[in-house]
Symmetry: C2
């Protein structure tokens, strides 16, 4: 076998050609292959169709050193990957007694007899290596063909991922040339994609033309912008140094809108800051209806820095649970600095050092000329009080996501 | 042009070959193409590489009547789709004055001069139809080539989707043969994939071999199983009838675990039931930390049936805000029927008819032999009180998602 430099990933299954299901296995595989120094040249999805699969496999084999398929190894007539690969590579397919025994044992352990259709899963193309599957009935297969490697993995991630780690990654590492793709991610909140682009573009143009070229991609989602830096080569230490320098330049230029360059989420950064400072937070939410608390409590261990919160969807609850004054609600409306501040102050009663409140109009209804859909007021009470009014773009879901990020960021800034 | 029966979708962009970004445009396009009677035969992702893109385009054109590309229409050197398509179809590429004027106008409206690089976006292959882009600078392109149609759309969904609707869908509808793919979705909660499979398999085996064959796919995610039925043909009324009968059989066999067969989410079904019965709900959450409230308030208009809630992450908050007795907490622990019931009863104070409480151990820490990670107690107080203990599988995120679905389902069942 020569060195493996490029891969194509082929996801097999008609369900992946419906509007409802997407191939996510290729994200895991791409990440792991990159770490092993292998570039993914292309990805494709094919249905459970003999001709389409054969054609896609043939195309992929002409283009890449390594072809990984996921799916189509099940026991039913729809599961064609084994057969088609054997056909394309002109290998005979025969039942292996030991593979069959392993599958049968799996059923016996569960107290049932193996259905006859599962015999198909014991068929192995000539010369293939069988990859054990401790998490399912479908074994994987690995075939060498001239300078190419073809790997067949099952579709379910809980079967595919350990099989890749245990049986495929070690072989690829042995064939690698020591070349690796390394990455860094800079995460930003409180800026639009074009604002980030304006500051970052001159820097990453320079990085891309440096001796050790760094590629940069910008990814935007409501409330968060990410800059992805990557570089490939044999000298991992030099690449890491160049990437770290690139990150340093970008972070210096972007300033405090960068909340992480080590992969952590905004809620994890906020949680760590609260934990380090021994502070506890409580949250009063209106338009975000629990999502801010949901994000804060996504972080394992969050019970030590989140005491709880109140979702005050109705004005009655704002008054009874948070001590907002009915006259403030009348005079200023629920979406106002005054009410947000009173909510943030009121929720501190839940044994918290810092209170945070979000009140706004997520839509689709409830907007006015003065306070259109997307108007959100966020207040922080406690150590360093603050209140801000935002006008977020997008639909209900986007406004709610923007709001939770903005609130987390206001907590983060109050802790800096 | 002959009829368009099959399509391939080509997503262009090196960022889609990283571990961080996935092509979701093809889901939208697949849904719309299916409605227009066009089957998606395959999908592929290629990087910003001239040769790879040319090869993928050539392959797709041999296989399908329609090839849609998304991405690679931007102004930078990386954006190669225009050029490569012109090359593969052997068409000259030239700047169109009117297209250039439209792009320039867009910049002028924003008060800036068009950067020189944007001129590239005014290049049009011979014989192509230009598709206006009111949401960005990149116009789309549509080319006829013998019996094939090639459509180039921009990558950002907010530009791609309206362009498809306004300029591509009407042309495809005119070329269609009246053949359509129709779908139904049955949504289930409170059953595992294999439990659903056991009941449903005999029925959908029968449906698949009927004169009007119906294909069924089962999709599982934490707390929810979906059965997707689809059938294709020219007689839409007959297909719809067959699908409705199939749905009826499956729903009858599966029983009350089916919560929707009209596309609605569990939170929408619960919201509609609350609205119809004029009831209001309040929620007390511990381990789900706001996610249940987040789901309930995802539904537009939810302020009329959700009064609010309390996230009681600490025991102090359970006592002070929900009136749980400290002695119950000591005697039974926070994850117990007694405490869950007291929380549900206590949160009704927030002006609600129905109180719901979730308390459990989402992990990764906090489990014990008696109450391992995944133990969750859910209580409903009000009209028809109920309390149940669950043992959910999976990690923190999965346990939290399972818990919110189980709680929504308990509300749903209390309203039947």
């Amino acid at each position: 076998m020569g060195p493996i430099r490029s891969a194509e990933i082929l996801a097999v299954g008609s369900e992946l050609l419906t509007p409802y299901r997407i191939d996510t296995n290729s994200l895991f595989l791409t990440g792991r292959l990159n770490e092993l120094g292998i570039i993914v040249r292309g990805k494709a999805v094919v249905g459970d169709d003999r001709n389409d699969l054969a054609r896609a496999l043939g195309d992929a084999l002409r283009r890449a050193d390594l072809v990984i398929t996921t799916g189509g190894l099940g026991p039913t007539d729809d599961d064609l990957t084994r057969e088609v690969v054997a056909g394309v590579l002109r290998r005979a397919l025969s039942e292996h007694a030991d593979v069959l025994a392993t599958i049968e044992e799996r059923f016996i352990r569960r107290g049932v007899t193996m259905p006859a259709i599962n015999r198909r899963q014991a068929k192995v193309p000539d010369g293939a290596t069988v990859l054990a599957n401790p998490h399912g009935t479908a074994p994987g297969l690995l075939l060498e063909e001239a300078d190419r490697l073809v790997v067949l993995l099952p579709g379910p991630p809980r079967e595919m991922q350990p099989m890749f780690e245990d049986h495929v990654a070690p072989r690829l590492a042995a064939l690698a040339e020591g070349r690796q793709v390394r990455r860094r991610v800079i995460k930003i909140t409180g800026r639009s994609e074009s604002q980030v682009e304006e500051v970052a573009h001159p820097i990453y143009s320079r990085l891309s033309t440096a001796a050790l070229s760094i590629a940069t991609t910008i990814l935007a989602s409501p409330g968060q912008i990410e800059l992805h830096l990557s570089a490939a080569g044999g000298d991992v230490a030099a690449i890491d140094r160049a990437l770290d320098e690139g990150v340093e330049h970008l972070v210096a230029a972007l300033g405090s809108v960068v909340f992480s360059s080590d992969g952590r989420s905004l809620e994890a950064v906020v949680g760590a800051a609260l934990r380090d400072q021994g502070l506890r937070v409580a949250v009063a939410e209106s338009c975000t209806g629990g999502l801010l608390l949901g994000r804060l409590t996504e972080v394992p261990g969050s019970s030590s820095w989140v005491t709880g919160g109140v979702v005050a969807y109705s004005n009655d609850v704002k008054v009874s649970q948070l001590g907002v004054s009915a006259s403030d609600l009348d005079a200023h409306g629920a979406v106002s600095d005054r009410v947000a501040q009173a909510m943030a102050e009121g929720v501190r009663r839940l044994g918290a050092d810092i209170g945070v409140a979000v009140t706004g109009i997520a839509g689709p209804d409830g907007g006015s000329i003065e306070k259109p859909v997307g108007t959100v007021v966020i207040a922080v009470a406690g150590a360093r009080p603050a209140v801000r009014t935002f006008h977020f773009p997008g639909d209900r879901d986007a406004v709610r996501r923007h709001s939770t990020s903005a609130a987390l960021d206001m907590i983060r800034r109050s802790l800096i």
